[in-house]
């Protein structure tokens, strides 16, 4: 047990993180390299400053809960989306338990969330994930788009939270849940760059590009304000 644990939180964790960060960097690199001012018909270079401003505004507005028309027009889904992502991003980064491992492996760590906060965020993510799954099944306009792959991605995302929560709650079979949690987390990290989870990085590229497009070609110089997302 101790050996498996050290293996999982030692070399395997290192490899997973390497694949995750390396993979994401690689995705970003290829995204930018694949941009083509002629094909997209956006003069990125001559208007870089205005473009980047548009990119930042486009990203920012969409990261603010209910910050856009579209979020406001879908209040329940927006709620679920932000609840889901709040936990999905903050819990893994700032969980006290993770900080212990980080301290041990790297010699430093980030400030840790109080346990109660990470518990609530985790439950929020799981509940919102449940809502998102139910919505996929219930709404015809979402059902028609949904593939098995979407459920796989949702499960892959939720698994570390469910198993982690069970372990943290000292559920029967603690060791099993803990090891499974670490495995699921590492699987997530390793697969993310090669699946739709690459959106963790590519969201910023895609949103940013459309923001540049609108700022550079589609009216940025006449609108007077940023695009009213």
């Amino acid at each position: 047990m101790r050996d498996v644990y050290s293996l999982l939180t030692g070399p395997l964790l290192g490899i997973s993180l390497l694949v995750f960060f390396g993979g994401m960097a690689w995705r970003i690199f290829w995204y930018i390299k694949g941009l083509d001012w002629r094909l997209e018909r956006v003069a990125y270079r001559p208007y870089m400053k205005r473009g980047l401003k548009g990119a930042v505004q486009s990203i920012w507005r969409w990261l603010v809960p209910y910050g856009t028309h579209s979020w406001r027009q879908h209040p329940f889904f927006a709620g679920a989306f932000f609840l889901f992502h709040l936990g999905a991003i903050f819990v893994p980064l700032f969980l006290a338990g993770h900080m212990v491992i980080m301290e041990r492996q790297l010699g430093f760590s980030l400030p840790a969330l109080p346990q109660i906060v990470s518990d609530v965020l985790t439950l929020g993510t799981i509940a919102a994930g449940g809502f998102i799954i139910a919505r996929r099944l219930a709404l015809p306009e979402v059902r028609i788009l949904t593939t098995l792959y979407d459920y796989f991605i949702l499960c892959l995302s939720l698994a570390p939270f469910v198993t982690g929560f069970l372990a943290a709650a000292n559920a029967p079979g603690y060791d099993f849940w803990l090891l499974l949690h670490i495995l699921c987390g590492e699987l997530f990290l390793i697969l993310a760059p090669f699946t739709k989870l690459s959106h963790i990085a590519l969201f910023f590229m895609s949103r940013g590009q459309l923001g540049m497009d609108y700022a550079i070609k589609r009216g940025g110089e006449f609108r007077g304000t940023s695009f009213p997302w």
Binding site: G34, S70, F77, E141, D150, G211, G224
Partner: protein, 464 residues
């Protein structure tokens, strides 16, 4: 299976081929042949590999399948929320499949893709502003149109339209001589009432060069006369080029990128030749898109700009009214409730919403906004070429309902539509649904309200 005589991968490049295709009424034989048309899957995949780069591939890959784009689309709204009208579904099941299957698709697939690309999307780009990932399905449909065009799967009218541009350098069979004749004829007719008015052709170094939509000289020559009157009123030294006057681009709707390049090059050549200080385009949305917004890129200009400042008619009018170069008689302002159609092409996609509103503030007493409006406005229902495609007339008439309901909700009896496609769509929606509205471009309204300075009026005894 072979290439058809009418329906094939070859673009129309000769007058003869154009006439033969036109003679096939409604494209009866053309669409019959399309059922047999083979797909060059190697060419298709080769094209995709060369032109489908990281932006489009990322869009297709990371789409969360969340459906937030569904009710942004007028086709979805007007079909009783048909899931097959969700923008993400429409693009994933067409372009998405082509990419996934590495181009190995068959004839039936391509015909369905055509029906989706032209019959279920007007390339209004509204959905893209509702997607959290910034996935612009309008842009992708336009790209898909290009792929379909290159394989010959394109609606009959679009094939003809692109052919017109290649053969006549205009979307209709208006030659340079026809155009110059129309200018002379209109100048003569108008001069009786407006002494001193002229339509100068090919004047170099003018203040303004004016470009138009071929429909104007062909079907609505009075629009050209009205443009002349307003330039005359404002005291602008202007000109039209005898070649390169056509600003529209049906080839953009058809996905014929080479024809797009040719068309915009004619206009830019005219600009270089005549060297005006400013270029002004007529009240048309897609002409502005094709020549001012996208055109510079087709022409290969790295700054994304035309060779001279190039503005939309509403920008010019707003300036003339603001500076008092055209003055409105307060007694003649529009009294009845009126509203304004925001063209997707120059409002959502070029940010000109403030200019039209400024104009309304000078000319209308009871101006009412549609909801939603500005960048968020719905397409009129006739954009992207849909107005002109017989095969999708039923679909088009159905999606006019969105605009109908928007107009009805304002209570306006006059709809101002400074865009040819919107103007047509609103005319057709009145024909289809009889809601008792009038519709108009800006030019005739402004002329009817303008104060004419004495020195521009016909002198007594000048005429009978």
């Amino acid at each position: 299976m072979p290439q058809g005589t009418l329906c094939n991968r070859q673009p129309i490049t000769t007058e003869e081929a154009l006439k033969t295709l036109l003679a096939d009424k409604g494209g009866a034989i053309y669409y019959q042949e399309m059922k047999e048309l083979d797909v060059d899957t190697d060419l298709l995949w080769d094209t995709v590999q060369k032109t489908c780069k990281s932006r489009t591939r990322t869009w297709l890959e990371i789409c969360a399948h969340c459906g937030m784009c569904a009710d942004s689309c007028l086709f979805y709204r007007c079909s009783g929320r048909d899931p097959e009208q969700v923008p993400a579904y429409k693009i994933q099941s067409t372009l998405g499949e082509i990419v996934k299957r590495k181009g190995r698709v068959d004839n039936a697939f391509m015909r369905r893709a055509m029906d989706y690309a032209w019959g279920r999307c007007t390339c209004c780009n509204r959905c893209g502003t509702f997607c959290p990932h910034g996935i612009d399905m309008g842009v992708m449909f336009s790209y898909l149109r290009g792929l379909l065009y290159s394989q010959g799967f394109v609606p009959w009218e679009m094939k003809i339209g692109a052919g017109m541009h290649r053969v006549y350098k205009a979307q209709m069979d208006v030659t340079s001589e026809d155009f110059v004749d129309t200018c002379e004829w209109m100048a003569e007719e108008t001069e009786e009432e407006w002494p001193g008015l002229c339509i100068p052709v090919d004047e170099e170094n003018a203040e303004v060069m004016y470009t138009l939509n071929a429909r104007e000289p062909k079907h609505y020559p009075e629009d050209l006369a009205q443009a002349a009157i307003l330039f005359h009123l404002a005291g602008v030294k202007w000109t039209v080029p005898s070649e390169g006057w056509e600003q529209t681009s049906l080839s953009m709707f058809a996905g014929d990128w080479e024809a797009c390049r040719q068309q915009v090059t004619h206009v830019f050549d005219a600009i270089e030749r005549l060297n005006p200080q400013l270029v002004i385009g007529t009240e048309c949305g897609h002409a502005h898109r094709g020549t001012v917004i996208e055109g510079p890129y087709w022409a290969g200009r790295p700054d994304g700009k035309a060779p001279r400042p190039y503005i939309h008619y509403v920008q010019w009018l707003a300036q003339m009214l603001r500076e008092g170069r055209i003055r409105i008689d307060p007694a003649k302002k529009i009294k009845e409730p009126c509203t304004l159609q925001d063209s997707c092409n120059y409002v959502r996609n070029h940010g000109l919403a403030n200019y039209t509103r400024e104009i309304m503030s000078y000319i209308a007493e009871d101006y009412r906004e549609m909801a939603p409006n500005r960048e968020n406005n719905y397409c009129c229902g006739g954009g992207g070429g849909l107005n002109g495609i017989g095969r999708y007339r039923k679909e088009r008439n159905k999606v006019l309902m969105t605009k109908r309901d928007q107009i009805l909700a304002t209570g306006a009896s006059l709809v101002i539509a400074p865009c040819h496609n919107c103007w047509d769509a609103i005319r057709d929606l009145e024909e289809e649904y009889h809601i008792g509205i009038k519709w108009s471009f800006l030019k005739p309204l402004i002329i009817s309200m303008a104060i004419v300075p004495d020195h521009l009026k016909p002198q007594d005894g000048d005429d009978e």
